[in-house]
């Protein structure tokens, strides 16, 4: 859940997002050190009294400022590639959910066992209850069992949309006529918010996504109630 004036990422709700946060800290520390080095060199160059107009070459420093950046880049690339392939792994999902983008709402279909489908509209600001979040709450949440691998098939019925939940590190474009696949595991129960991330018309900012991660028993009860109400 984002908070006002937030600069960094939200707390991770999935193992992949935890890895992404660790990689971000790693890359940021390197960037901060390099920036500090550059600042120090600028100050040193500006404040020195030494001048030499006849320097033609210097092999030693050329070697240093070629090899050191190459080493740093390799040390950034290795964890980056590791996470890239980690994000593509799909380990035997327990459940498959289809998320379809419409103008301007999402619809979810749980068709593994029964035909359960429902629409998820944003709750207008004037209808919010005390404690609910403006522009983020929906009338029906996408409920998933906690700590279970879930496969999400994302598509759209009209124009481009994008299904994104930042706290889980998920973003997948919803393209009409195309089925995109992604997977996630929620590490803890709770509510996880996201918003449509591809411009799709007048109400693009008003079609949020809410994932409710619950224990398996609660998920079974919820799906039974939803099927009865359908």
């Amino acid at each position: 859940m984002a908070h006002p004036s937030q600069l960094g990422f939200q707390d991770a709700a999935s193992p992949v997002m935890e890895e992404l946060l660790h990689f971000h800290d790693h890359a940021l520390m390197i960037v901060i050190l390099i920036s500090t080095l550059v600042l120090y060199i600028i100050v040193a160059m500006v404040s020195t009294k030494l001048t030499n107009k006849y320097i033609l070459d210097s092999q030693e420093i050329e070697i240093v400022w070629t090899v050191l950046p190459a080493v740093i880049l390799i040390l950034i690339a290795l964890p980056s590639l590791r996470i890239l392939y980690l994000m593509d792994e799909i380990n035997d999902p327990h459940l498959t959910i289809k998320a379809m983008g419409h103008q301007w709402y999402w619809s979810y279909e749980y068709t593994d066992y029964e035909n359960l489908g429902f629409d998820s509209y944003m709750i207008p600001t004037q209808d919010l209850l005390p404690g609910q979040f403006r522009l983020l709450e929906t009338d029906h949440r996408m409920v998933v069992p906690v700590e279970s691998p879930i496969r999400i098939l994302v598509s759209a019925e009209d124009v481009l949309h994008s299904w994104a939940v930042p706290s889980m590190g998920i973003k997948m474009d919803a393209v009409p006529g195309r089925l995109n696949q992604t997977a996630f595991v929620t590490s803890r129960p709770g509510l996880f918010y996201g918003q449509c991330s591809e411009i799709c018309g007048a109400n693009h900012s008003f079609m949020p996504i809410v994932i409710e991660a619950v224990p398996l028993e609660h998920f079974e009860k919820w799906s039974t109630v939803m099927l009865q109400d359908a």
Binding site: P15, H26, I30, I32, L33, L75
Partner: protein, 119 residues
Amino acid sequence: MAIEEEKDNKKGFKLLGILDIQKTPCAREALLHGSGGSLVVGLLHFLATSRVRRSFDVGFAGFMLTTLGSWFYCRINNAQLRMQQRLIQDGIKNKLMYEGTALDTVSKPKDKEPCSSCP
């Protein structure tokens, strides 16, 4: 508990407003190692050469190299530890799930008696 957590949150120092030194693993250690290394290297260089400006440069280079080296070493170990923790968690979950079944890897299967009527 909530009051203590709020106090901890207020004490956190964020480098450039983004990198939380206290919450980020290895950040505090790397910066402290770098600072210590910088002081030691700079001081030794000054004692050997009595050149102030060059000693500052050497000290800063020492800070960079020590911080980077400590950071990389700590992060690699931290990543390996996190992977091991995840494997252990999955192993415990699988053990609980499959205990007593054919997929249980801990308990050995009972030896089957030879079948006398089998061809």
